[in-house]
């Protein structure tokens, strides 16, 4: 089966619009599921439908990845695992950001329930399933039911579209792999640079963390399951201008660099590109250009009189201008691009922050008079 596709996109390339249009082009008789990791993005997909099509056609279902896993992964065949699961209701899922199922804290750190303690390993006391183990649970269900889980899903949906696929990891990837082998056609879209959520602590497929989703599909599918990898369709940014594309791409030399699109008519405005702004000039800068301030978290001090947002929250959004409060490692990366890889998970956030801007992305950082920055201009009030 070669109808599966992974499209690697760049920030601002309009991948949600692309997915929505693809879904609308599909014949009405074919059932489509569109799923994505975050509720915010799910909402974004819905409003995109309303904008383009006024309503969401009945053959299209939109739900978050976890809601999909709960409804179609956990519940239908949970009874295959053991006696208790036949009659138990798994009402919901508990989102955890650390390994779940802690038994006690010992001298050498926390000790966890083993998988043999089935209920304690997978569920809270009120029988809600832990988010870090839900996809593992589903894989076990599928094995125990002679693949009834995947078989059922593939009969419900002719197509499954996954947006922000870079957010999936661990056993999620195993589920994707099984779906790839089914008769459902899978379309994955994501930007491997923009991993901002990583709640899986599972060691399964650990080497494909940190944006190596492409390598997963290249290495793990084997010869029988096909997947076309497309790195060209969504390479052009409708949002960023040349300077921002160039600098943000330098953060990820391993990927195809992004380019500004030729289709959008870009307004002629002054003050375009990437700028470095001294701390003492921030207030002046804010007053002059009114950018949105982007920061790591609430602990970062900003000017409270102007709009502000955490890096993670800003994902998917577009602003004319942004002012970024960088971490120390981000500063090092701006000074020397070869150090960008050292910011680890911060690299994705930095990339997200930079690519929010249509006209100018500025970075708060003090500099010497004789210093110069590749791809960025020093800003001075005149």
């Amino acid at each position: 089966m070669n109808d599966n596709k992974l499209i690697l996109s760049v920030a601002g390339s309009g991948k949600t619009t692309y997915l929505v249009k693809k879904a609308l082009e599909t014949p009405y008789s074919e059932k489509i599921l569109i799923t994505t990791y975050t509720e915010a993005n799910e909402e974004e997909i819905r409003s995109k439908f309303i904008k383009i099509n006024k309503y969401i056609p009945a053959n299209i279902t939109i739900q978050t990845w976890f809601s999909f896993l709960l409804q179609h992964g956990v519940r239908p065949f949970q009874g295959s695992l053991n006696e208790i699961m036949f009659e138990k209701d798994v009402e919901s899922m508990i989102l955890v950001n650390k390994q779940s199922g802690k038994r006690y804290v010992g001298i050498n750190g926390p000790v966890y329930w083993s998988e043999k303690e089935f209920e304690k390993y997978y569920f809270t006391k009120s029988f809600n399933i832990y988010s870090d183990k839900i996809s593992k649970f589903i894989i076990k269900c599928n094995d125990a039911s002679s693949e009834a889980v995947i078989n059922r899903i593939s009969r419900i949906y002719d197509h499954i579209f996954v947006d922000e696929v870079q957010d999936l990891a661990g056993y999620d990837l195993e589920i994707l792999k099984l779906l790839f082998a089914s008769k459902t056609k899978i379309l994955l879209v994501g930007d491997p640079r923009q991993i901002t959520y990583l709640t899986h602590t599972e060691r399964k497929y650990g080497k494909y963390k940190d944006g190596k989703i492409k390598e997963f599909f290249e290495n793990e599918l084997g010869n029988i399951i096909g997947c076309e990898i497309d790195e060209k369709t969504l390479i052009k940014s409708h949002r960023n201008n040349n300077e921002i594309c160039k600098l943000s791409s330098q953060l990820y030399p391993e990927f195809e660099p992004s380019q500004p699109c030729e289709c959008c008519c870009r307004e002629e405005v002054g003050h375009k590109g990437v700028f470095i702004v001294k701390k003492c000039d921030v207030e002046h800068y804010l007053n002059k250009y009114n950018p949105i301030q982007l920061r790591w978290d609430r602990k970062t001090k900003v000017n409270e009189n102007f709009g502000v947002m955490n890096f993670g929250e800003s994902k998917g959004k577009t602003y004319d201008r942004v002012l970024i409060y960088p971490t120390q490692r981000m500063k090092d990366c701006i000074k020397d691009r070869s150090k960008c890889n050292d910011i680890k998970s911060g690299r994705a956030k930095f990339y997200v922050a930079l690519t929010r801007a249509k006209y100018s992305a500025s970075i708060v950082m003090d500099f010497e008079e004789n210093e110069s920055f590749d791809g960025a201009e020093k800003w001075k009030p005149n």
């Binding site: 059932k31 409804q71 179609h72 519940r75 239908p76 065949f77 949970q78 009874g79 295959s80 036949f86 209701d89 798994v90 039911s145 009834a148 059922r152 899903i153 009969r155 419900i156 949906y157 002719d158």
Partner: protein
């Protein structure tokens, strides 16, 4: 899409778990009163619509939905063991043959059979969130009823997803003799069926038109004037009091609009006509995306014979792609719709005629007057050829059994003409105890031994006939068993006493006046002897 199986547990007359499978076309449920026929139809309708007795069950929970024996067992056990689990009602409908995507959506192993199947499950069960309250309650006092206030309804697919009646792809129409009506008298079922004919756009248009109508009412000058007067003249409240039309519910039109037939409100026309119209509407369902199921309760009860014939014909013509499940007491209905489709219910048990030979089914379809259901419903049956045999056998039975008629002991004597073997094939499939009383027609070997050789080794089927070929029918048999001159006095009318001068003439007279002589024996108090094979049959009845 159609129902392939139904599971019922503790619902009304079903104690414990009961299972019944269906075929995709017509299903005829027969059974004695109280066997659970109507309950089966109600259960299916409830699981597919959430409606019971014309209302949403959610608001109508009562302990009478629970099987009385299961309830009493629980109330008894809880006295000695307060850990006794509370009883629950469980109804499961298994679905098949639908749109693949729909079938898959409802698929999972969330059913009491624990098998991978597509379907819907409705459960009335204890709500665990009331655990503390319940424990306190049983600590304090003894229960004398199920604490229904702590119960909830869960309605899920076999994939354990909560569902609503809108999301169920199989639309069910229950057509029964009860008349469940909205407050204004319009019929719940007919508005449901009519509603399901409409697509969502049309429904929205009706809603809007209805709302406009009500708004226009408020804009009427006279109404405005009245409201003004009320406002000024009343001291009812310091708030604004006025008359308005109820616009509360989204589907208000459904309960307020009336279905008319030739200018007559639907519920004012005859019950029989109502039944025909509802059924035809349900069968003519035009929406192709939804499958349709018609549940019919005893259609014969409001219909004359000729109307019934017309009705049954329209069912068998139109149901080709729809499933029909009906209960009946009428052999005519059952014969016409095909005995193969018959399901016989008996004390939480079921027997089907699904592998009945098609020759036999065709025979009864063409000759629907035969009382097949009497055989099906009887405890034991005696098949005879005609009324004279029937009368003689009954008389012989009464003499042996203190004057009781066989039917009083649950033994049904049925005249079947020459179609003994047709009836026996039904008896064979149903494992019914059946006796045949028949003449040897002068050739015991071919007319009895050969003819019935297929049934020879069956314990439940017994053939009673005499081996003596000379005594070929009941009349010579009867004359032989008695003193003919004594017999003559009983059976021959006074006028004709002189014309029967010999034994042979008496036999001849009896053959010519078959029913008459038998009736005279039946009514006479004189002691007569019965042929040996009839006495044997009477003995068999007592076994």
């Amino acid at each position: 899409m159609n129902i392939s199986k139904l599971n019922i547990e503790n619902f009304k007359c079903f104690d414990g778990k009961f299972s019944l499978s269906f075929n995709s076309g017509i299903n005829i449920i027969v059974g004695n009163n109280e066997a659970g026929k109507s309950t089966i139809l109600e259960a299916i309708h409830l699981a597919l619509t959430g409606i019971y007795n014309g209302r949403y069950l959610r608001n109508e929970l009562s302990q009478y939905l629970f099987n009385i024996d299961a309830t009493n067992r629980f109330l008894n056990n809880i006295k000695s063991d307060d850990k006794t689990p509370l009883p629950h009602v469980n109804i499961e409908v298994f679905l098949e043959n639908g749109d693949e995507s729909m079938i898959a959506l409802l698929e999972g192993n969330g059913n009491s059979d624990r098998e991978t199947a597509s379907g819907i499950r409705l459960k009335i069960e204890f709500d665990e969130s009331y655990k503390d309250e319940y424990e306190k309650l049983i600590e304090k006092e003894t229960l004398d009823s199920i604490p229904i206030e702590y119960y909830k309804i869960t309605w899920k697919s076999f994939a354990r997803s909560t569902i609503s009646s809108r999301s169920i792809p199989l639309k069910s129409a229950l057509i029964d003799s009860s008349s469940n009506r909205y407050q204004n008298g319009s019929d719940v079922y007919i508005s449901r069926i009519v509603k399901e004919h409409l697509d969502s756009k049309q429904k929205a248009e009706i809603s809007q038109a209805y709302r406009k109508l009500k708004e226009n009412f408020m804009e009427e000058d006279s109404i405005k004037e009245i409201n003004k007067q009320i406002k000024e003249g009343s001291n009812i409240s310091n708030k604004d009091v006025k008359i308005a039309v109820d616009l509360q519910t989204q589907n208000a039109w459904e309960s307020s609009l009336m279905t008319y037939l030739d200018e007559i409100p639907f519920h004012q026309i005859g019950k029989g006509e109502q039944c025909i119209i509802k059924t035809n509407l349900a069968l003519a369902h035009k929406k192709t995306e939804d499958a349709n199921l018609v549940l019919l309760e005893e259609p014969e009860s409001h219909l004359s014979h000729s109307k019934l014939n017309e009705f049954v014909k329209s069912i068998s013509d139109k149901c080709c792609d729809k499933q029909v499940i009906l209960s009946t007491h009428s052999s005519f209905v059952a014969n016409k719709l095909g005995l193969k489709n018959l399901v016989f219910l008996n004390k939480n048990n079921q027997v089907k005629l699904s592998d009945l030979k098609s020759g036999t089914q065709d025979f009864f379809m063409k000759l629907p007057g035969y009382d097949t259901l009497r055989l099906v419903l009887s405890k034991k049956a005696v098949l005879v050829e005609g009324p004279s045999d029937e009368l003689i056998f009954q008389k012989a039975y009464m003499i042996k059994n203190d004057g009781r008629l066989p039917i009083e002991d649950g033994i049904d004597v049925i005249s079947v003409g020459l179609s003994f073997k047709r009836f026996l094939t039904i008896a064979e499939k149903m494992n019914k105890c059946v006796a045949v009383i028949t003449d040897n027609d002068g050739d015991y070997n071919s007319k009895i031994i050969n003819k019935y050789k297929d049934f020879k080794n069956m314990d439940n089927i017994k053939i009673f006939a005499d081996e003596n070929n000379v005594l070929n029918t009941l009349e010579p048999q009867f004359v032989e068993a008695n003193n003919w001159e004594m017999l003559k006095k009983i059976v021959v009318s006074e006028k004709c006493q002189n014309s029967c001068k010999t034994k042979a003439e008496l036999i001849d007279y009896m053959i010519k006046n078959k029913t008459t002589w038998a009736l005279r024996i039946f009514e006479s108090d004189e002691k007569v002897e019965f042929p040996e094979y009839i006495k044997n049959a009477v003995r068999w009845c007592g076994e």
